[in-house]
Subunit: 587 residues, 2 copies
């Protein structure tokens, strides 16, 4: 009944070589026994870079961060049992955020399932609807037809994971003992010539020319339009959407994850302070648009969402190359499944050149600049509340660099304080399911393929994935973590329950009283605590020189922070009232 | 469309009161927004003790440990999205280990699902085949019929979770904003009189009398029988199985989790060194039995499993009150779905009294005592290898106390070195899926309801659930953790790959180089490092006096440890050869 060592070896080697031929370059491996053949052969393959993380939950988020930045499917490998269950949080995020992952779980063979054998759970469709494809693999065998099958399956897994919308796929491998393959120098000897690699092209969705022309005619008649851009993955999108905006005379409301707030595309039609000025009632009410063209995921800003909702009934086109239904507010009038860049290019080519800048466009630029000027006044503060801190850190990011931000407050502060600029700062976050989990690991996975990388994260979220830090040491990765430690869940202070003190701190504030200098020592990271701008400068300089992990801890106050944010929004709002006073501002 | 505050309040309050009336006493809550109504009302209910843990993965294992020791279903509550996904590892363990959990996830309402809304994943049947029951709940409503429905559903959830085999159930609650219920003093005002509590009795499986009598006749004719006991949950089992063994004249091979190795049932027919002496070829071959009566889960010992396999074809009865198919080695001849205690009582009453102790029984006692004497000689060692350390710690456990052990090596060392005794030491482990994850939290959940509690755990496993430590501080729980730090995965040194150094340390040894004194400081725990018996004494005494968490770190060596274990087994094997020499030992 046992498979021979040759069956085990060739089956796994050809599968892994199939992954490589289909474009997989990295694998994140967690230690285990059942996964032995795959782990040894992934490590042995000259074209796979392997990363190790002991905690499978962190390993999966690491793979997600790596795939997010590289754009290439990353393989994940673990042993049987709860190990595989630990992948679920990252898999749900990958599925929602459209990140290609190749999840490989090893399993007991069929005769040891559901009979009380150790370390055995039902791994069949373990991730339910949260993967794009599941396959239960055949037992190891070195027959020609089986080797062809594993190579084909590897290619199909990559092809499926990459097709828009990209996402995770799951293959479950039953392995019998003995589990030790031949591996030393195996890939030099492996005969792969008789298996030609399969050329893969995932294609893209486009609209027929007539539909584009109709849309062009519709838009050309509408002066008051908005382009809204959320996180998207279409190549070259930033340039072509700016070109489209110029031709239409529409401002672009650009989410921080849209790729439009930094880099070569910098233009004043990129509106970056809308989250502040759309809190003003007059602007919300009077800036009435006729049409919205929306690309990518729904932006982070709640003020923007509420503004779009308020004027429901206008033409609202949702363009998504992944064909998803991205309309949580139920305002879409057009659902267009089309690659975002291709769509912009085609539409632009159907539009007439504009002679001048419209009043509409000039007004959006004016209120944006007015709001931004007030927001930037935060830089004059001496005390480091979270807003000031965020603003100051963003000023100090090197060019080029990457910034990963946590969910809950950091992504919202990024939205408020990262103003459009020429610098090449790549902004990253986990906005598929917006969890506070797995962020250290996601950032480290990203840092494995882009450097320098900074992570700004709250204390609860940092705590949630402290284990993730181990990957820096085990794989020699450099990263700077800036922990904004307000000792608890800052976002709850903005919710209605904050007004009622009973149970608030126990259930929502949840102060953990953690001194992260000990976490730094545990994981061999550099560490600085900052309390003012000069210590921030020193810490950022030290972090830049550090070889590996560096942790900067900034202690802030949840209550003061809410007050400071509200004061700032109030200042912006007053400025908006001044700027848009009179009846003819929007006329 | 929004539900009124009254709908939200009454719906949740009656559900929670329904849980309490059905026997739920504890809830483990992780902070979140969508779960606000349930969190506030669980905390407010006077008969629910709530525990807080920020990391949902740890929270779920905490609930599992608590339910394991209390025997009562524990509620678990989290917000929407990846938070809920983090429960999966503990849920798979609970499902395999038969632990009743009431998993409550909060969710976006239907109109916000699969339309790109934030923090939203498909939570419908999120845990797949790993829960006993899933229900998507109705929206909050205060109609009489709906209040009756939520109370009934609460009772049904508890009833289902507790029915043998016990396990987790999952209820998913869609909540619309606003999420803040009335709660202050609510349960004093809540009118529950018109909803009488439902009396629940989960019943038990029993065999018809004729089947018991046939079995009694079969067994009475067979002198050479064995009783094998693994982990089981049938009340009062320990006493009745010893009585049965005495009447049959069969030795009991008792797994450490069977409940038979300590306490009032102590008897020399409880065989506790079989993992050592069944490695001896002569014993394995010559101790031929005619019949096996097996209760509970498959024991930990691989030597025992192989011995049972070797003599496949003999009468082998698997008795399981949960009706599971617990036979990973495929040797069962009788599958009997019957409550273990009831089965023993009925069978005993059908058997005749024995006059004397048979040679068969005397032989098992002789070899057990011979092996044990050799095993105990480990206590004479000066150096603390893992075996010695384990043996010495076990000698020092207070009476009464509870001991939770980690998977991989600790459970195997417990099997080797915890000899049957009179002390009341409750032995606990997570042997459903045997993961190395979630053990700190499982032990802390157990420590919340039984004290003093000790956890012995390896360094990789301790690392995996470091976050679990936070619950000690947040909930004021006392526990002593003894970390056996051999800097990596000790169990891999016993596997074939240990013979091949290439990739071994990177993929399997995985040294993390963690100094856990920093983890102790991070979580405000007491800490001692031990290197010999006298420092172990000091550390154990300090731990006993400590108020909260105390961590004892013992640094050992993976390579030396394998050698020491093999030497010890060799010593036992030689002793067995001597003891059983000649042809007439078993005759």
């Amino acid at each position: 009944m046992n498979n021979s060592r040759q069956d085990l070896t060739l089956y796994n080697a050809h599968f892994i070589d199939g992954l490589v031929k289909a474009g997989v370059e990295s694998a994140v491996i967690s230690p285990g026994s059942r996964s032995t053949p795959m782990a040894l052969l992934l490590t042995e393959h000259p074209d796979i870079k392997e990363y190790i993380q002991i905690d499978e939950r962190s390993a999966a988020f690491f793979a997600l961060g790596l795939a997010k930045v590289s754009g290439k499917p990353t393989a994940l490998l673990c042993t049987s049992g709860t190990a595989a269950a630990n992948y679920l949080p990252a898999i749900t995020e990958a599925n929602n955020a459209r990140i290609p992952l190749i999840v490989l779980t090893s399993d007991r063979p069929h005769e040891l399932r559901e009979v009380g054998a150790p370390q055995t759970i039902d791994q069949n469709r373990l991730y339910g609807t949260h993967v794009k494809w599941f396959a239960e693999m055949a037992l190891p065998d070195a027959e020609e037809s089986i080797l062809r099958y594993v190579r084909t399956t590897a290619a199909k897994a990559v092809y499926t994971a990459k097709q828009s919308p990209a996402g995770p796929v799951h293959l479950n491998f039953p392995f019998r003992e003995p589990l030790l393959p031949e591996y030393d120098g195996l890939f030099e000897r492996l005969e792969t010539d008789r298996f030609p690699a399969i050329h893969l092209n995932e294609g893209m969705r486009v609209l027929p020319q007539c539909e584009i022309e109709e849309l062009a005619a519709l838009l050309q008649g509408k002066e008051k339009g908005l382009i809204v851009c959320g996180e998207q993955q279409s190549e070259g999108f930033e340039e072509v959407v700016v070109e489209l905006a110029e031709k239409l005379g529409y401002p672009i409301l650009a989410d921080p994850l849209s790729g439009l707030r930094s880099g070569a595309v910098y233009s004043d039609l990129i509106i970056d302070s809308y989250d502040a000025f759309l809190r003003n009632d007059r602007v919300k009410q009077e800036a009435v648009f006729d049409v919205v063209l929306r690309f990518g995921a729904m932006p982070v800003s709640k003020a923007l969402t509420q503004f779009l909702c308020r004027h429901a009934g206008k033409v609202h086109c949702v363009v998504d190359g992944g064909g998803g239904w991205r309309d949580p507010i139920g305002v879409a009038t057009h659902m267009l499944a089309a690659d975002e860049s291709a769509f912009c290019r085609l539409l632009t080519s159907c539009l007439k050149e504009r002679e001048d800048t419209s009043l509409w466009m000039r007004n959006w630029i004016r209120i944006n600049q007015g709001a931004k000027a007030k927001m930037e006044s935060i830089g004059e503060d001496q005390e480091l509340d979270e807003g000031t801190l965020f603003y100051e850190i963003l000023q100090r990011l090197p060019d080029p660099s990457a910034l990963f931000v946590g969910n809950s407050m950091p992504i919202r502060d990024l939205d408020s304080f990262f103003f459009a600029n020429h610098r090449r700062v790549r902004l990253l976050a986990n906005r598929g399911a917006n969890g506070i989990d797995g962020l250290v690991s996601s950032a480290l996975g990203a840092a494995a393929v882009t450097s320098p990388l900074y992570l700004i994260i709250g204390d609860l979220s940092f705590f949630h994935d402290l284990n993730g830090l181990l990957a820096a040491k085990l794989n020699g990765i450099k990263m700077t973590v800036i922990v904004i430690n307000n000792n608890g869940g800052g976002i709850f202070s903005y919710l209605p329950q904050a007004a009622e003190p009973k149970h608030f701190e126990r259930l929502f504030g949840t102060p953990a009283d953690l001194d992260f200098s000990y976490a730094a020592q545990l994981y061999g990271a550099g560490y600085e605590k900052v309390s003012d701008l000069s210590s921030l400068d020193t810490a950022m300089a030290k972090a830049e020189r550090a070889d590996g992990l560096f942790i900067i801890e900034a202690v802030t106050d949840r209550v003061k922070n809410v007050i400071a944010h509200r004061e700032l929004w109030e200042k912006v709002s007053q400025e908006m009232n001044k700027l848009t006073a009179g009846d003819d501002f929007w006329k």
